[in-house]
């Protein structure tokens, strides 16, 4: 296939992947890597390299919009990024050592699991009430978010070690497969640490770019990032996810009441 045609097709595919990823909450990466490897016969190492670049782009691009809404918690994010970046470095090293067949199998399993997770997320009630964990205040993680009617809804953080460990796992997957692994990050914050869903999803989005940047260095050194392939992928996914965000309605939910959070916030 001539390069011009190939590039246009990859751009169109990435745009669709970005759109789908943002709409389903699965993120661009999990749609993109199978598309590149199965439909375009790209080597999985080039595919995860290009996907990782698009993940950084969408996460960073979306962050500004989420910041304005005032849900993300920079302290929780920064604290857990210690775990995700360590995991990402570990994952990227693993990726350079394990056979590509194994990589493909792990990818398939993660794809199924995150699809199941994000389906679940849209069906579960708000965080369960829990006793105040003293470490939440000690680590400065307690916070509040706007509830849509002008007042603030306070929350605390629980089960920090378990959340931290899960974040290490999320980082490893991200570095191993070139995805954002937003579903696992939200699982760690929302289910394990009992952080409100909206705070979890927006903070997760903030963390994804930093996590991906931690493995990008290793990918670059190993030659996983091919400029010719990365450029239509990055621009396509970015365009796709941006146009999806345009449709995303502003949703305000009453404080601490059960709501139906939009899975599109799960992004990447």
């Amino acid at each position: 296939m001539p390069l011009a045609l190939f590039t246009s097709l990859v751009f169109a595919g990435s745009l669709t992947a970005g759109l789908l990823g943002a709409m389903t909450g699965l993120g661009g990466g999990v749609v993109l890597v199978p598309l590149l490897t199965l439909a375009f016969h790209v080597d999985i190492r080039y595919a995860i390299g290009a996907s990782l670049i698009s993940v950084i782009a969408t996460s960073s691009g979306a962050a500004a919009a989420y910041v304005r809404e005032g849900f993300s918690n920079i302290r929780i994010g920064m604290f857990l990024e210690v775990a995700t970046t360590t995991g990402a470095v570990f994952g990227a090293f693993l990726a350079t050592r394990i056979p590509t067949r194994t990589l493909a199998i792990v990818f398939g399993l993660v794809l199924l699991y995150s699809a199941w997770l994000s389906w679940q997320q849209t069906h579960h009630p708000e965080t369960t009430p829990h006793s105040r964990n003293p470490w939440s205040d000690r680590l400065g993680m307690s916070g509040s978010y706007p509830d849509g009617s002008g007042s603030q809804c306070a929350y605390t953080v629980d089960r920090i070690p378990a959340g931290f460990a899960t974040m290490f796992g999320a980082g490893t997957l991200s570095g191993l497969l070139g995805i954002g692994s937003g579903a696992v990050k939200v699982l760690a914050m929302d289910r394990i640490m009992r952080i409100p869903f909206k705070v979890s999803t927006t903070t997760s989005n903030f963390m994804i770019g930093v996590t991906a940047a931690a493995s990008a260095g290793i990918y670059l050194q190993r030659g996983y990032i091919n400029p010719g392939l990365a450029f239509p992928v990055m621009l396509g996914v970015l365009a796709g996810s941006c146009s999806e965000r345009g449709y995303c309605p502003k949703h305000a939910s009453p404080c601490c009441a059960s709501s139906s959070p939009s899975s599109s916030l799960l992004s990447v």
Partner: protein
């Protein structure tokens, strides 16, 4: 300010106000970084396509990208002779630098807030990122 102090028993509310400002600045930083990277990649991509348009696309077999693209000094040399891949690579490096800059800004922000714990936390994240990039 007065209202802030009245509504909160501790300094939590004032801190969230500062965190909020930090987040907004970080948000703008990220947006600018991504925009800059996207424009650079687009320019590189257009040059790449016009010079390579009729070559066959082959990404089926993995051959580690040429070392020239991976070393900053070589990259600058390639840039001078107008190599399209090098322009795209610069855009990609800008993109990777964006979240790194956000963490670096976090270090400064928490230091201004005199939050020792989180200054150390963000320094740790920054150290991990720089370790990975210098590998």
């Amino acid at each position: 300010m007065k209202k802030d102090q009245k509504t909160s028993a501790s300094s939590t509310s004032r801190e969230t106000f500062d965190d909020r400002r930090m987040e907004i600045i970080i948000g703008r930083l990220l947006q600018t970084g991504v925009l800059l990277a996207a424009v650079t990649v687009l320019v590189g991509g257009v040059i790449y396509l016009t010079t390579h348009a009729n070559q066959p696309a082959n990404y089926q077999t993995f051959s580690s990208e040429s070392a020239n693209l991976r070393h900053p000094s070589q990259l600058l040399h390639l840039l001078k002779i107008g190599d399209a891949s090098a322009v795209i690579q610069i855009g990609i490096l800008l993109l990777i630098a964006t979240p790194v800059a956000r963490v670096a800004f976090g270090v400064i922000g928490f230091a201004i807030e005199r939050d020792r714990l989180y200054t150390i936390v963000s320094l740790t994240v920054l150290a991990i990122l720089l370790f990975s990039l210098s590998r």
